[in-house]
Amino acid sequence: MTSFALPLPRARTADSAGPVASALDPLVAGAARGDEGAFERLYRAHVGRIYALALRLADDAGHAEQLTQDVFVRAWERLGTFRGESGFGTWLHRLAVNVILTDRRSAWRRTRRITPSGDLIDLEPEARSAPPGIRLDLEQSIAGLPPGARTVFVLHDVEGYEHAEIAAMTGIAVGTSKAQLFRARRLLREALDR
């Protein structure tokens, strides 16, 4: 049987320099001391990765831009808590996931009927529509997934997080995360096979 290489656990391979080197990174240290120039250089080094994440999780490109800006502002505010246990890129990526998911929870609370449920995957807004009958590429198909399935697919298959990590970040059960992943994969295959 042919073997297929699954995506690497990318969230943890982003910082090849490792925690010690990152802790000594003069840019990170400078930014943590309040050097905006150093922080701008960090922004320029990492913005593409954060924007890619936001673009795949947000509802549109404009919202992704706003979320990307929010992530870096939050990072600036919280740099003082960065201790270098993980690489800066890993820390920033996790912060980005939290900022984006928090924004989604707030938005969904406003647009959906209020329920005591804290499970954001249960509160499914409509998926972004994809043109019927048109063969889609993978990015378009991901964009067309229902948000809960899209979130888990992006975090697991694209960004390399484990189900337990996704459950902790999103507030869903591990089993729900797995179910959403299989749902997402089937939907994507159907969309790409059309």
Binding site: F4, P7, G48, Y51, W76, E77, R110, I114
Partner: protein
């Protein structure tokens, strides 16, 4: 092996991470279970395609102009929010004036840096007022929350549409003014929402 056990092993199966006994068990199961076979085929179908996705996508515009002005705020938010509404109100007035200047002096070209700076301040004010609202939210009745949040959703939808239109046509001063108006409505609404507890 159950379906749940097989599903837990599908990625390992595709990645050759299973020992021979587990691999055989998965193979036997998927040969007889259509559901798990469909999951395996979907995972296999997507594996290489997903690995080829771009991980680094530069934003279409430089977002730093909208970030830098927000870095001037204190790194630690004050735990006592009592001064926030007054501060936000001052910011609203200052921001509105700055945008008015920017709108008046612009004619063509990309989004004006002054406008971008001011919009960044609106974003920051809205973010922090929203945090403040979240703190009082639990003290509100479900009906009140429903009314507030549905109205806020309408404002945010209008703001999102206006921002999208402005990005497509950055020299359009009418759109710029609409964006400003939408931000002001959002800030004002959040101020009212966040102050409900003190009024009741």
């Amino acid at each position: 092996m159950t379906c749940d056990q097989v599903r837990d092993r599908l990625d390992g199966f595709l990645g050759s991470a299973l020992d021979p006994a587990e691999r055989s068990a998965v193979t036997r199961h998927v040969a007889e279970c259509a559901e798990c076979r469909a999951d395996l085929e979907a995972a296999r179908f997507l594996a290489d395609r997903t690995a080829g996705l771009r991980r680094d996508i530069p934003p279409p515009a430089d977002l730093w102009a909208g970030i830098a002005p927000r870095l001037a705020a204190p790194r630690r938010r004050l735990s006592v929010p009592l001064g926030w509404l007054a501060a936000a109100a001052v910011l609203l007035v200052v921001g509105s004036s700055a945008v008015t200047v920017a709108v008046l002096r612009r004619s063509t070209g990309a989004i004006d840096p002054v406008f971008a700076t001011t919009e960044a301040r609106y974003q920051q004010a809205a973010l922090e007022l929203d945090d403040l609202y979240q703190r009082v939210r639990d003290s509100l009745t479900p009906d009140t929350r429903l009314v507030l949040e549905r109205n806020l959703a309408v404002i945010e939808r209008a703001l999102g549409e206006a921002r999208s239109a402005l990005r497509a046509d950055p020299a359009n001063r009418t759109l710029e003014a609409i964006v400003v108006g939408a931000w002001r409505r959002k800030i004002e609404f959040l101020e009212r929402a966040a102050s409900i507890e003190r009024e009741s």
